[in-house]
């Protein structure tokens, strides 16, 4: 039997708003999970009762909400409940402490851990909250349209502990729940979402993350194997979360796991070896290093045997992948009309595997001293086709054609250079020749007459 002590003073506005939920909803939820609750309510929320309660060998946790300062916590009518310098006997060496109290993580909580309390959680700053102030009996968080978000997030820790998770796992899940609740609250009240995140960011864990309440059942662990593949062409990541739930007694656990990659979650049934695998496809817009938070939760399973829950989380980073490209000018048609030369240039852009690269801008330059630029875009087959007209000197018959792809976040740059041939400006040449012939004729006539 696991016993938990709930400390719930009830004597002024803050404790009167929050603590009915400890007496009602939290106590009831812990009991549903098999824990026995010792409730220190109102006048019982005092030092003598607390220190007496923890002497019970089955008591392994202390929770509650009470005013705190850097070095201590006060109970009913501001009487000191526990503070730095108190005599912390050996009975505290089996206790996990996590109370909603301002500032206690600054001195009291680390001091308690130094004194032998195995695991404790506390707030570094003031704990801020919002409440709609409506009357409550404390049986359902829904009674307060703002406070409900804090309650759901906060008591995730103790509900997970009562289910058999380690303190470190319960703490991580509590912080995750604060974020989930902040997102929910955001739909209704931006301020509440802000304070939820504020409170979570100031909540610190001290001591042994492997501390666990002696909940009966077979302990389990998760072995995790994550593979990531970035597909730059389709702008997506495939993240495969595979693994196995292992029972520490050598048997094979049953049930299912919840797998989360950031905000995407799914439930996968364990196979007959306790294994699981699931591939998430996640689209991205920009090819940059992306961090994914991955968590796997085994909520436990119970029939003839009870397998205890376990949880693991990690982060993986997927690095950007770029693809070399090859740009080819495949055909250049030219036609001259007087000084103007008309170019029709066709080409193709493919990646390193010869796969066409569609939708990309190609700059085409036709050289002759100054450059002429135009834009073209590759079609679904990676092909581009651009027409350019430009005037050239009478006798010029060649021009350099450059096609250039500047690259983007996925595809690397490439270019191709070719020479275009075209005829000289025969119209001018013929006119000139005619003129020369005429001049020559005139000269001949003049010479003959001399």
């Amino acid at each position: 039997m696991v016993k938990l002590v709930i400390v719930a003073p009830y004597y002024e506005e803050v404790t009167q708003l929050w603590n009915p939920f400890l007496k009602g909803w939290v106590k009831s939820e812990l009991e549903k999970r098999g824990a026995q609750v010792i409730l220190l309510w109102a006048d019982d929320a005092n030092k003598e009762k607390l220190f007496e309660a923890v002497k019970d060998p089955d008591v392994h946790g202390v929770l509650g909400a009470a005013h705190g300062w850097e070095r201590g916590i006060v109970g009913q009518y501001n009487q000191v409940l526990i503070q730095v310098g108190d005599q912390i006997g050996p009975e505290w060496k089996k206790i996990c402490l996590n109370m909603v109290s301002c500032l206690v993580a600054q001195e009291l909580i680390p001091w308690l851990v130094e004194q032998g309390v195995p695991s404790a959680v506390g707030e570094v700053t003031e704990y801020a909250f919002t409440s709609d102030g409506s009357p409550r009996d404390g049986n359902d968080p829904e009674e307060d349209q703002l406070l409900k978000y804090y309650l759901r997030a906060e008591y995730t820790f103790w509900f997970r502990m009562a289910e058999g998770y380690t303190a470190g796992q319960a703490y991580k899940q509590m912080l995750e729940e604060y974020e989930i609740q902040a997102r929910e609250a955001e739909k209704v009240d931006e301020e509440t979402a802000y304070w939820l995140r504020y409170d979570a960011s100031n909540r610190k864990f001290f001591g042994d993350p492997n501390f666990v309440l002696p909940v009966p059942g077979v302990k389990t662990q998760i072995q995790l194997n994550i593979t990531t593949i970035r597909d730059p062409r389709k702008r997506k990541d495939n993240i495969t979360v595979a693994g196995k739930v292992v029972a520490l007694d050598g048997s094979v656990p049953k049930g299912s796991v919840e797998i989360w990659v950031n905000d995407l979650g799914t439930v996968v049934n364990l196979d007959d070896q306790g294994g699981f695998t699931y591939t998430f496809t996640i689209n991205w817009l920009k090819n940059e290093e992306t961090l994914y938070h991955i968590s796997v939760n085994y909520p436990g399973w119970s029939n003839n045997v009870r397998y205890l829950p376990t949880y693991i989380d990690t982060e993986v980073s997927v690095k950007p992948v770029t693809l070399p490209t090859k740009l080819t000018i495949e055909d250049i048609e030219t036609k001259r009309d007087g000084p103007l030369v008309y170019f029709n240039i066709k080409g193709k852009l493919v990646d390193k595997d010869g796969v066409p690269v569609p939708g990309q801008k190609i700059n085409v330059y036709v050289g002759n001293g100054e450059l002429y630029e135009t834009d073209a875009e590759t079609n679904e087959n990676g092909e581009f086709n651009v027409s350019i007209e430009k005037s050239y000197p009478v006798l010029q018959t060649k021009a350099t054609v450059v096609a250039r792809f500047s690259g983007d976040d996925v595809y690397q740059s490439s270019e191709d250079i070719e020479t275009a041939n075209f005829p000289p400006n025969w119209d001018v040449i013929k006119t000139l020749l005619a003129a020369v012939a005429m001049v020559a004729t005139v000269i001949a006539i003049i010479l003959a007459s001399l």
Partner: protein
Amino acid sequence: MATTFGELREAAKQLVSQPMTFSVDDFIHKVEDWVNSMPEWKRNGYFGFVVRIGNIERRYLVRYTELPKVLREDPVFRERYIRALAGLPT
């Protein structure tokens, strides 16, 4: 135009980082605007922010309608509230 909570946070940041360009009075006026723009169910609710310094207890559960008054009259609460809003350690 009603003040949003996001604008209130920006004002708190400005007050902390550039106190010469923004006054406490300006900030409290923004709080008033913000509170006045709240739906009634929230305006009648509370902000809980418990301050206790050593043995001097300062405990607050402030009804939103009272928040501007409390900010005006209590410099300790005001300083900690503004720093918390600005995302700084209190």
